[in-house]
Amino acid sequence: MSELDPVIHAQARLRITSALATLDLGDSIAFPRLQELLDMTAGNLSTHLRKLEDAGYVDVAKTHQGRTPVTYLALSKRGRRAFEDYMDQLRSLLGGTA
């Protein structure tokens, strides 16, 4: 049994990846809406998003709506694959079928 992915295997980052995985492939969500859905502080969310971005699991796109800068976030293909592998590993560990 390989080790659980340390990037995802932390409560805050698991919650973020789980939430992003509910979006369809390629769809993205604005930072404030994700923060609202997760009930996390902006600082805490930013910290964990940076770790996910550094691992290549989250795509970050900065854009503007009028004059307001907006950051959109999405799981990358790599991130989605890592999340699915993580989920399968957890189920295997718990005796289910992966």
Binding site: L4, H9, A10, Q11, A12, L14, R15, S18, A19, A21, T22, L23, D24, L25, G26, D27, S28, I29, A30, P32, R33, L34, E36, L37, L38, D39, M40, N44, H48, Y72, M87, L90, R91, L93, L94
Partner: protein, 228 residues
């Protein structure tokens, strides 16, 4: 708008860098996804309630034109005005609440394509029913038959569109709603004017109201939906 819906989902443990045991992490994962689905769906019941009232009162008004005759008859102009007015309100409300539900979300090109094709399909389907009905009327279809054809066909196509939407967006409630509306349409089609209007008002409106209630209870965390 949301004040009547006491939104309450069990709180998820405070964010932490430390992991739980595997069972705890799997539970956290599943609870988080369920929580996101609930939060993004919290306005859906209001859309369904709006359509439930529109069908109940709107189709009910059309039934009252001849349904209680000769003792009582609602003037046709009043019935049509009630029906069209309520439809317009529900369309506007659906657009506003749908927009609020999707705020902060950006669809990919593929998702936009799917949405655009589905939207066009709805328009084409509604137009086709009207064109075929108008042609049948021109060929001599009696008014009594036209008054069965139009409400039944519109209800049937709305049911089918809910089924298709459920298949595209993997939404079981939409599939159930669509199947029930199609069944209501078929049942209504076996009766003579003006009964189809009454069947669609009560059963069709009832399907929307019941659907809204079930989703409202789910949003409030009263029950869980098994993972697909």
């Amino acid at each position: 708008m949301q004040s009547g819906l006491r939104y309450k989902v069990p709180m998820i443990s405070a964010p932490d860098d430390a992991p739980l045991d595997p069972a705890g992490m799997l539970e956290l994962l599943e609870r988080q996804q369920s929580d996101v689905h609930r939060r993004t769906a919290k306005l859906i019941p209001w859309i369904l309630f709006a359509w439930g009232v529109t069908w109940l009162v709107g189709y009910g008004a059309l039934w009252l034109v001849d349904g209680l005759g000769p003792a009582f008859s609602l003037p046709l102009g009043v019935a049509v005005a009630v029906f069209v007015g309520l439809m317009a309100v529900s369309v506007a409300l659906s657009a506003v609440l749908g927009g609020l539900s999707g705020r902060g979300m950006k669809a990919s090109k593929q998702s936009n394509f799917t949405g655009a094709v589905f939207g066009c399909t709805c328009s084409v389907a509604f137009l086709a029913i009207y064109v075929v009905g108008a042609q049948l009327s021109a060929l001599g279809m009696p008014a009594e038959v036209a008054n069965v054809y139009f409400p039944v066909m519109y209800t049937l196509i709305i049911g089918i569109l809910y089924l298709v939407a459920g298949a595209i967006w993997r939404a079981v409630p939409s599939v159930v709603l669509g199947g029930l509306l199609a069944a209501v349409a078929l049942a209504a089609g076996f009766s003579a004017y003006p009964t189809p209007y009454l069947v669609i008002a009560v059963a069709g409106g009832g399907v929307f109201l019941a659907g809204g209630l079930v989703i409202a209870l789910w949003v409030r965390g009263r029950f869980e939906v098994p993972r697909r």
